[in-house]
């Protein structure tokens, strides 16, 4: 175990190194400007989103107090739909569970999952002797560079097209030019070979409606669709705070997520409520049709229940991971996701890292970094008041240290 001071120094070194990197500054400034323009346009075309966000805020507030009930409700419905439902109290439990489902020597394709980052799922399944491919363009680039994601929606926003060309040239052993369309086409060709070889597809979940057990997956690349439809087994890892009471509620949450993430509409929205099935022969439902034979839903607590019981910090669970806040954060603008933990970024990421991620020792320096300038709150669809939460988190930290 590294000493607390070493953790602090390592964190600050990385933060400063990235803040001083010209390449990162270029990638970030291109991304920040493009994002701001995109979100403004999306909100201008769909102005009702602002009111909808307010409705979603009240909904999520209500759900935080009902986590157990919502898990139970969703579990029953999913089982009825033919899914196998598992509950993991900790990251270790989730890894063990998923490891048992997957086994070893398998090919795995995965859509982007923050919850997977939280528990280091790829690392674990690779250590069991599996071949694991991130199929989200950004996540694949990060897998190849052996780096952590930098943002919830745009994990590789700090990587320039020039650097992408280098990564792909290295991967394929032939010259790939720094031209974005060529790069994307190259990634497409590389990944398409993987889906039909895969034994397992893994996904996260943007939001789930408990009454129908429906997993919402928002994307534009089509990689999540492929990963969750082509392989015979689909495993969905879902943080329990993602569950809302109804399918209709889930749609509202989803729309707010994608709009504040800068999209007028994501090109694909997948709704998955069970393994594939058909009742075409004698109206008798049989699971395992053209799509996956099995759907495993793994609900993960990993600190969420504890956080949901904190009278003040529970507000952090309202976060729907649109990442709009990060684009307004002065520190994020310099250091991207190095201001954050493994899978949770920025000031709010300090709270999530403390309770759901690597723990308070890693979260402490992240918490000290927040400027409490409050600009994140101005763009947060959930009106999460970080300036109020941050002193509270620090209070919990200093009290633990005083003991």
């Amino acid at each position: 175990m590294p000493e607390p001071k070493q953790i602090f120094e390592k964190y600050y070194d990385e933060l400063l190194r990235s803040a001083h990197s010209d390449k990162m500054a270029l990638g970030l400034s291109r991304s920040v400007n493009a994002f701001r323009a995109g979100r403004a346009k999306a909100l201008e075309r769909f102005p009702h989103t602002v009111e909808l966000a307010e409705e979603v805020r009240r909904l999520k507030e209500d759900c935080i107090g009902r986590l157990d009930e919502l898990v139970q409700k969703a579990t029953a419905v999913l089982q009825e739909n033919g899914a196998q439902v598992h509950y993991a109290e900790t990251a270790a439990d989730a890894l063990k569970l998923i490891g048992e489902i997957v086994g070893s020597g398998k090919v795995i394709v995965s859509g982007k999952t923050l919850t997977g980052e939280e528990i280091e799922l790829r690392h674990h399944l690779e250590s069991l002797g599996n071949e694991y491919w991130e199929t989200d363009c950004a996540q694949l680039l990060l897998q190849l560079r052996e780096e952590k994601p930098m943002h919830y929606v745009y994990p590789s926003l700090h990587i320039t097209r020039e650097e992408v060309a280098e990564i792909l040239t290295d991967l394929l052993g032939r010259e790939i030019p720094p031209d974005i369309p060529t790069e994307i086409r190259t990634i497409r060709e590389f990944l398409r070979g993987k889906y039909f070889k895969a034994d397992i597809g893994i996904s996260g979940c943007n939001v789930m409606g408990a009454d129908t057990g429906t997993i919402f997956l928002l994307e534009s690349e089509g990689n999540i669709r492929m990963s969750t439809t082509v392989p015979p087994v689909h495993i969905a890892l879902i943080g329990i705070e993602k569950i809302v009471p109804t399918l209709h509620d889930a749609f509202n949450v989803a729309e707010v997520v994608w709009r504040y993430a800068g999209f007028t509409i994501p090109l694909y929205i997948s709704l998955i409520s069970g393994p594939s099935g058909t009742a075409d022969i004698e109206c008798t439902l049989i699971h395992g049709s053209s799509g996956p034979l099995e759907l495993h839903v793994v609900f993960l607590d990993n600190g969420r229940s504890t956080l949901s019981k904190d009278p003040v910090l529970k507000e952090a669970l309202r976060c729907i991971k649109c990442g709009a806040c990060l684009f307004e954060c002065p520190v994020f603008e310099l250091a991207a996701g190095y201001y954050g933990g493994r899978g949770y970024f920025g000031g709010l990421g300090a709270i999530l890292t403390a309770y759901m991620g690597e723990g308070f020792d890693i979260a402490a320096p992240i918490a000290y970094t927040c400027l409490r300038c409050g600009r994140c709150t101005e763009v947060c669809p959930q009106s999460i008041d970080l300036s109020k939460l941050m002193p509270e988190l620090r209070h919990r930290i200093v009290n633990m240290a005083k003991r």
Binding site: K5, P330, A335, G359, T377, E378, S387, R394, V398, A401
Partner: protein
């Protein structure tokens, strides 16, 4: 909880210790905090006070403390500092007075001058106010750091002082103290009912009542750097603009990220991450420079100091001016002509 051994930045301990012992975060002497008022003959008792919170006064010294904090090798286990009787600085063999002696008179005079102007502006605008000679710092930083128990103790001392002096209304010179009194104290002190108004709001109202236009002796183009806590926590964005509108010969060029979207000056992380603080300041200066203004107006001593240092180090043409300096100059020039 998953972990209990946690790193606490030395600044947390030193600042809370200074506040408890000397009434202000840097441990400045009483005379360093109050000398600005020498010769002004301000009343020291009254219902309304001008509250400086020792914040402008300490701005000149922050960097010296930060530099020392960077040089001193701290052990991990300073936890006992929270409960120990001996001063943390003493334990570390740090002599703060010696540290601060490197700060030149000119540097501290910059801020004392602004304080005098702040008081003289109120006087010129016929606002009755007093000033507490042995003023205590609000404790805003203790709240920021999550040192709630220490904050509560400080808040009680501050409130006791206010009560003894018969204070019912505070003209809060800095956004931090205005925020502390308006939003933090009510959480920690039962029945806290002292009205705290940001200085700029008081001046804006008085100038409106006055109804006459002021003027600068020379034309000046400025941009306005809204302090985060003023614009967002306190939602005061129009008062400084109203003030500027009453001044002729002054052109305001708004920075792209203004009002509630204003950008941080970097000061909040200075005591813990000084290099990061400089990078944040440099980024904000880029935004402010893009307006093409000659000067950037600030309303917070921390913004003033952090932006100024960054500008001085890079030798840029843009200069930092406190709104107080502009108003004072305009009032002087306008009086002179009348």
């Amino acid at each position: 909880m998953k972990n209990a051994r946690l790193y606490i930045p030395p600044a947390f301990r030193i600042i809370s210790d200074n506040i408890a012992r000397r009434g202000n975060p840097l441990g400045l002497k009483e005379s360093d905090c109050s000398s600005w008022a020498d010769g002004l003959q301000l009343p020291t008792k009254g219902e309304t006070i001008l509250y400086t919170g020792c914040e402008y006064q300490m701005t000149a010294y922050i960097r010296s403390l930060v530099e020392v904090l960077q040089r001193v090798k701290f052990k991990d286990s300073l936890f006992s500092a929270f409960t120990g009787i001996q001063a943390v600085t003493g334990k570390l063999g740090l002599d703060l007075m010696k540290v601060y002696s490197r700060v030149t008179g000119g540097e501290s005079e910059t801020y004392n001058r602004i304080l005098r102007m702040a008081a003289l502006i109120l006087r010129k605008l016929d606002i009755d106010f007093a000033y507490l000679e042995r003023e205590l710092y609000s404790g805003a930083l203790l709240y920021e750091y999550g040192l709630f128990e220490e904050l509560e103790e400080q808040a009680k001392r501050v409130v006791k002082q206010f009560k003894e002096a018969g204070v019912t209304k505070i003209i809060a010179l800095t956004p931090h103290s205005a925020e502390a009194f308006q939003q933090v104290y009510p959480k920690f002190i039962d029945d806290f009912n002292i009205d705290a108004v940001p200085y700029v709001s008081v001046v804006a109202d008085a100038l409106k009542k006055l109804g006459t236009k002021l003027s600068l002796p020379e034309p000046l183009t400025v941009t306005l750097h809204d302090p985060c806590h003023l614009a967002r926590s306190l939602k005061v964005t129009e008062a400084p603009r109203q003030v500027l509108q009453t001044i002729n010969n002054l052109e305001l060029r708004e920075v792209a990220l203004n009002r509630e979207l204003t950008g941080c000056c970097g000061a909040p992380c200075e005591t813990i991450f000084p290099e990061l603080s400089e990078l944040v300041a440099a980024k904000r200066i880029e935004e402010l420079e893009a307006t093409g203004a000659e000067a950037v107006i600030t309303l917070c001593p921390y913004c003033y100091a952090n932006l100024k240092r960054s500008l001085d180090e890079t030798g840029k043409k843009l200069r930092v001016v406190d709104l107080i300096e502009i108003v004072y100059q305009a009032l002087e020039a306008s009086n002179a002509r009348a």
